[in-house]
Symmetry: none
Subunit: 229 residues, 2 copies
DNA sequence: AGGGCTATATTTAGCTT
DNA sequence: AAAGCTAAATATAGCCC
């Protein structure tokens, strides 16, 4: 298996496989309760990430644990074919030389990240988590809109034909239900808190991954990077 | 899709799916030249990681962009999208509330009809009609709910595949990539001379590129300590 | 805990629109 | 790019070892 030659094919394949990969990752989470962080940089340098409970939490955990030794069960009985062991040994030697600096760097990173995040908490509008949900909802709701429109039209025709019928308004003023219980607690333009588990309980994705009862901050899914190209 | 009930089955599934996930990740790397970092914590808190060129480099790159708030770079498109989502959110809320009240009304009507049918025979037709209407409406709305669930499920993929919807990060990432890495953490456990071809030949990924069982090449793969659970 | 096996289910490369 | 389609490749749940 080698890098694809055709550029446009590669692009499509990347997109499809990336989707598949993220899906598999999320399935592993929901099916097995595993915590996962997945970060992908496209050849074009766009970022995509997924995390359960969220990317940063897992990364932190990973970084914190990094210095740990792989005690015992080193199941290196895991691989398919090996080109040459000499290479591996050479690289292993190199790594051994880098271990110390890697460790320091990891610690430093974790510390720095914590500091940075604390500093910018207010500015970080959307967590990876709510991103996905909102995107998904956007798509779903756009479809919903169409359906509602169709139903509304149909209902109008029926009403016209049967004046005695009650009219049910699809979009009444503010028919808040007890289901909706959330108030933005910060003035952001894209408040993740709009979508609450209670609102969605009937919309839980089949694989249950997205709508975590605990909230919307459980998972990140999507490119972290801006820029359109 | 829910968390597996059977514990031992879950364990097996976790193991198999984890393998599959790592394989997919590696394939994405070699096939498309993408950079990937994948960290998985088993339910039993064991770490498994994979990275190309290495976990830390990718994490580094991710972290460099992640903290980036929407500094003035709030693109028009993003704003539009945000508005749209918010709007859709409102609609969903309304529809949800509407369904709820419609249900109540339908139930109430049914009850009322039953109670008064005998005495108010002349009113029956009207009640009947509106009740039918309401039932239809109720059914329609429940269909909508299912539809949303389906769409949302499908949307998960789309969301992952639609990077242009995510614009969090604005800082270009500076990253170095040596082809070395991860699982850095125990030089002593696995001295170079410990690695033998016989240990590896059956477990290397088909593409052979990514998976370096000793975890020091470009990938770490294996429990942080002990068994899987 | 893995490996092997199999019937089934999912994924995906390549096309077409 | 995006969506749908299909044949063919892969993944995987459930068993048994």
């Amino acid at each position: 298996m080698k890098k694809m030659s055709n550029e446009s094919n590669l692009q499509v394949t990347f997109s499809k496989r990336r989707s598949g990969l993220f899906k598999k990752a999320s399935e592993l989470c929901t099916l097995c309760g595993a915590d996962v962080a997945l970060v992908v940089f496209s050849p074009g340098d766009k970022v995509f990430s997924f995390g359960h409970p969220n990317v940063d939490a897992v990364i932190d955990r990973y970084l914190a644990r990094a210095p740990q030794p792989n005690t015992g069960t080193m199941h290196f009985i895991e691989a398919h074919r090996v080109a040459n062991v000499r290479d591996l040994n050479v690289q292993l030697t190199q790594i051994n030389g880098q271990l110390e600096s890697e460790r320091k760097r990891a610690d430093e990173l974790a510390r720095l990240k914590r500091a940075t995040q604390a500093q910018l908490w207010w500015a970080s509008p959307i967590d990876d988590m709510s991103r996905v949900q909102l995107d998904q909802y956007k798509v779903a709701l756009e479809e919903l809109k169409k359906h509602v429109a169709r139903l509304a039209d149909r209902a109008m025709l029926q009403s016209a034909a049967n004046p005695s019928h009650h009219h049910h308004h699809f979009f009444p003023g503010a028919s808040s239900s007890s289901n909706v219980v959330n108030q933005p607690h910060n003035p952001q333009m894209f408040p993740p808190q709009m979508i609450q588990p209670s609102m969605l309980q009937n919309y839980m994705f089949p694989d249950g991954t997205i709508m975590h009862p605990n909230g919307f901050n459980n998972m990140g899914f999507g490119p972290g990077n801006g820029g359109f190209f």
